[in-house]
């Protein structure tokens, strides 16, 4: 348990102090400007200060921190990917997550549950075997399990899925976890703020000044800021920012929706994913079932929710868990997923000097928050991307060296 909680209980200073300074107007210049106050941007600010001593940093957030995709995902953390590059990268993230509550002195409710990716067809089983072998090779704990073991882990699951799609087996990934996602943004924000970085909410970037191929400043609704280094960490808003610097990317925005049920007593320990039924599901620390499905089928820059989504998702949920038929859905929402053609992120340097990109996080960004912050901080501090993210560089597309992770997406998209 973080010591902070105990200290707070014994102290007389209620309410608790702010997590970060409430700053209004940015200074005239910074060494680094980070666009986007989500988990990734705040983590980058934190590691820039902590690992590299760069503290003259402003994080600009057009809404409130953690209000974008950081607070809209289904909070699953896992590393059972398909390519060795992906597995190594996400495994590094899981390892930071495991100690992050202590490091940030904030209870992130990081809870290791075990993660089952169900296979209903022989071809899905083949992908599970492939992923298990790649994972084991890299040293990540994943293995293929049969229906008996799944039934033991979750007796409530109808293994025949209403007779529609019998479960043949699953990829079991022991480190699979859930965490309190907004806490991750708050923890990094407080950490970065304490080390000297400045966080500005309600501060929108309106333009980026590029002269002779070099970044020289950022126009905002609170005035002009001089800077030579800009990190773009804005998920679903990436194309609007890259358009400001005339940078072409393969990113296309699709909404991704999710919903939660009313809270119930704990019954579901593990995380369950079915690619064929387009469902992923876990039970939060509050007892709600957190559920998500595949992307909306066409490009829209919007966070509206649809009835189609809830109907489709819940009908498949009932194939898996018929006893949930009387449980109510209490909230639904959407985020804007910045999708890439190979389902891997786009990270690192760009052809514009001083413009760094941390994007293409589609439906897989939350789990990578710590490691993307760390590696982007390294990239900015050294003006050179570390080997860990070499396969995610923007130039991989013109090199035709894509990092095919579609087979590890949680559900078919």
């Amino acid at each position: 348990m973080p010591l902070r909680l105990l200290k707070f209980a014994l102290s007389k200073g209620h309410p608790a102090p702010r997590f970060f300074r409430a700053l209004e107007t940015p200074k005239k210049s910074y060494d680094v400007v980070i666009i986007g106050g989500g988990g990734h941007g705040l983590a980058a600010a934190y590691y820039l200060a902590k690992d590299h001593g760069i503290t003259n940093v402003a994080v600009l957030e057009k809404g409130y921190i953690g209000g974008g995709n950081t607070g809209r995902n289904t909070t699953i953390v896992r590393s059972n990917y398909l390519t060795p590059e992906g597995v190594n990268f996400y495994d590094a993230s899981v390892k930071i997550y495991e100690g992050l509550s202590e490091e940030l002195d904030l209870n992130l409710f990081y809870s290791t549950r075990g993660h089952y990716t169900l296979a209903h067809t022989e071809s899905a089983m083949r992908t599970m075997r492939w992923r298990a072998e790649v994972n084991k090779h890299v040293g990540v704990e994943s293995r293929v399990v049969g229906p008996d073991e799944i039934a033991k882990a979750c007796p409530q699951l109808d293994l025949s899925c209403s007779g529609q799609a019998p479960i043949l087996g699953a990829l079991f990934h022991a480190p699979g976890s859930v965490a309190r996602h907004d806490g991750v943004a708050w923890g990094y924000a407080r950490g970065a703020d304490r080390l000297g970085a400045e966080i500005y909410q309600n501060t929108e970037v309106l333009g980026i000044d590029v002269k002779n191929g070099k970044v020289c400043g950022v126009k905002t609704n609170k005035g002009y800021i001089e800077t030579k280094q800009v990190l773009c960490a804005v998920a679903g808003f990436t194309p609007r920012i890259t358009e400001m610097v005339d940078l072409e990317t393969p990113i296309v925005i699709h909404p991704l929706q999710a919903c939660v049920t009313e809270p119930m007593k704990p019954w579901l320990n593990s995380i369950f994913v079915s690619g064929s039924l387009h469902v992923y599901l876990s039970q939060s620390s509050r007892g709600e079932l957190v559920m998500g499905s595949s992307l909306d089928p066409y490009e829209v820059h919007s966070t509206r929710s649809t009835l189609d989504f809830v109907e489709g998702l819940t009908s498949h949920m009932l194939d898996m868990f018929p006893f949930l038929s009387n449980v109510k859905v209490v909230r639904q929402w959407a985020g804007m997923a910045d999708m890439t053609p190979d389902f891997a992120p786009i990270m690192g340097k760009t052809p514009i000097e001083g413009f760094y990109i941390d994007a293409g996080w589609g439906t897989w960004g939350f789990k990578a928050t710590p490691i993307s912050g760390k590696t982007m901080a390294q990239t900015i501090a050294n003006d050179s991307a570390p080997d860990l993210i070499h396969s995610f560089r923007l130039s991989r597309f013109e090199d035709y060296e894509l990092t095919g992770e579609k087979g590890a997406a949680s559900v078919g998209h």
């Binding site: 890259t242 990317t249 393969p250 925005i253 089928p297 597309f397 013109e398």
Partner: protein, 96 residues
């Protein structure tokens, strides 16, 4: 229910349609550079705005063009490729 107007079959539920991505002109593959070709293959204009897109009416196998705003999700017109794009008779809003 969301609706879309197929130029051949009239207004139908959106679930009958498949999104085919943005309509784009291919560069001349005999004269363009490798970098230009790679940009054509991979890059997209991802920023929101009015776009010309491919849509497919699945039951009838009809590919057609829809002009749609990707921020508001409003379709201004739909037509077959090569047909007069100014013909707004088939104009239809995607969300009712």
């Amino acid at each position: 229910m969301k609706l879309l107007t197929c130029p051949m079959n009239g207004t139908r539920p959106l679930s009958e349609f498949i999104f085919g991505g943005e309509y784009r002109e291919a560069p001349n593959q005999d004269t363009c550079t490798d970098v230009e070709w790679a940009a054509y293959v991979h890059n997209r204009s991802g920023a929101p705005g009015d776009k010309k897109e491919w849509w497919y009416h699945s039951p009838s196998g009809t590919w057609f063009i829809a002009e749609r705003n990707t921020l508001t999700d409003k379709v201004s017109r739909t037509y077959l490729l090569g047909a007069n794009s100014d013909n707004s008779d088939t104009a239809q809003e995607i969300s009712k």
